[in-house]
Symmetry: C2
Subunit: 339 residues, 2 copies
Amino acid sequence: MQEVTLKQIAEILQISVTTVSKALKDYKDVSPKTKAAVRNLAAKLNYKPNPTALSLRNRETKIIGLIIPEVVHHFFASIIHGVVLEAENHGYLVITLISNDSYELEKQQVALLLDKRVDGILVSLAGSTVHTHHISQIIKKEVPLVMFDKISDEIRCSQVIIDDWQAAFEATEKLILSGCRKIIHLKGPDGPKTSLDRFEGYKDALKKHRIPFHPSYVYTSKNVSIEDGYKLTEQALKDHPDIDAVFCITDLVAAGVHKYCKNHQIKMPEQISIIGFSNWLISELMSPSLSTVDQPGYEMGIRAVNLLIQEIGSKKSDEKSTLQKIVLPTKVLMRETTR
Amino acid sequence: MQEVTLKQIAEILQISVTTVSKALKDYKDVSPKTKAAVRNLAAKLNYKPNPTALSLRNRETKIIGLIIPEVVHHFFASIIHGVVLEAENHGYLVITLISNDSYELEKQQVALLLDKRVDGILVSLAGSTVHTHHISQIIKKEVPLVMFDKISDEIRCSQVIIDDWQAAFEATEKLILSGCRKIIHLKGPDGPKTSLDRFEGYKDALKKHRIPFHPSYVYTSKNVSIEDGYKLTEQALKDHPDIDAVFCITDLVAAGVHKYCKNHQIKMPEQISIIGFSNWLISELMSPSLSTVDQPGYEMGIRAVNLLIQEIGSKKSDEKSTLQKIVLPTKVLMRETTR
């Protein structure tokens, strides 16, 4: 006996194959009347779903992909930790790829993961990523996607982030409230939204407290490194010998400022206050210990995986998933480099 | 026409199927005479390898598994970095699993990776792993295996390690040569070989320089943490107020010693010298900067992947792989906590 197909049911009822398929899956956008008609006929004809199609549809690798800019980095290592452990709790394994902040590598890595038919993908963008066509491809191929930390507003997907603007605003405000007025900002490269948002937060805190914003008080750290922090402090002090504070894009850059001050007998926080960003382990162990913004990496990893697994679940049951945006709270930790 | 099978060739020649198979693959343990007989007959009968068997045999996932005790850890994060980048250079993706130093988790993770049919596995043992039956299973299933850093001598496989004994010997000797005589050792838990080897290196350096070994000078840091370093220093100074140096199992523990000395106005290195292990980023940034043993994590990752890919290649071409042991050089970095 030949198997009855969806197409035959569709032809008999004079409706589309899609409608038949949706009716059998109880989609909401098919009327109860049509659903009843399809089911009755399917039962009469002893219709059975094609097992090959079913297995293709339900094929799961139970592997998710994670693309991250760096790994030897306290914040990102904490994220990996959260992602891998939480994924495993839910029966998923994680392929980790490190883009090394390279747009080209990131593009290749997205292609690799799609090719491996992973069940879902987590991405934090490389610093040098400007176009996001490769990320759109993930959505186009209907692979569940969650972005975290370094996201792009051009991509419609679930996100787990911190409010970088808010965090930078609070950090700068703490410097102002402690009496600082000539506050340098060592910002990151212009690509990543995190970097731009922190810069805006810095400017808006100045504005709120009616401190004029001087573009010459802002220096860009291209490599976001200790060396950059060191050299830019040297430059900033040459340009503006009377500065009283430095707000840095990350703790690594702040460690460079710290080192410069130490080597040149500049007292922290009496002469120069410093606030970093991310709360690396190093910041607590430096002397004086570094004030910084605590960024919850481990929790970000856990939340991102949970969102992704929800979306994988929605896809399996053919439900439309609701895009979610989780903004995790940060906290300015006032240690010894601030008054 | 029915396909000719290995079995038929074996029956005609009155030899085993294995011998036929090996002869066709040019194994060294089959005599040239037998090889010639098998090949002649196979050619006459127009024998073709079964394509299904072939594809099963050659089935590659192009995924390798990595089981590592920790990730928010400078040394292990550097290893992951090396492993992931080098694997990708060779067309392999890496599933990273973090055992959190748990024997139970590690066992489950080995089973997971075997189940996923990864092409090979890289393992660094959890601190609490004592039995290695689960690791033997990898070899039994003929899945290429390379162990690195935290290995077990019970497992016959390729290894990438440092000489922990040598490194600890040199570090302790540096302390002795700088004039220290009452040298405390804050050791790690007894499970991992790295920990035991470092302890032996410490003892042997004392022996070489005819300094009596006092078991009461040795304290065990169970959690290998900053807190442990802090508390054990407090205890050690209570037990032996005249100690002049501390050699620590890792930089984290050394950071605790450092913190205790700082909080209690104990001058480093004048009153107490400190040497850590691993060269974490923190050690360079502490003040005074921490003397330590540099351990090449990134390179270890690269070498481990290369060994594994060699073994995967050998397996594919049915060659026996030669087990290799790579011992990477370490270096004692004398910074400011040593005289």
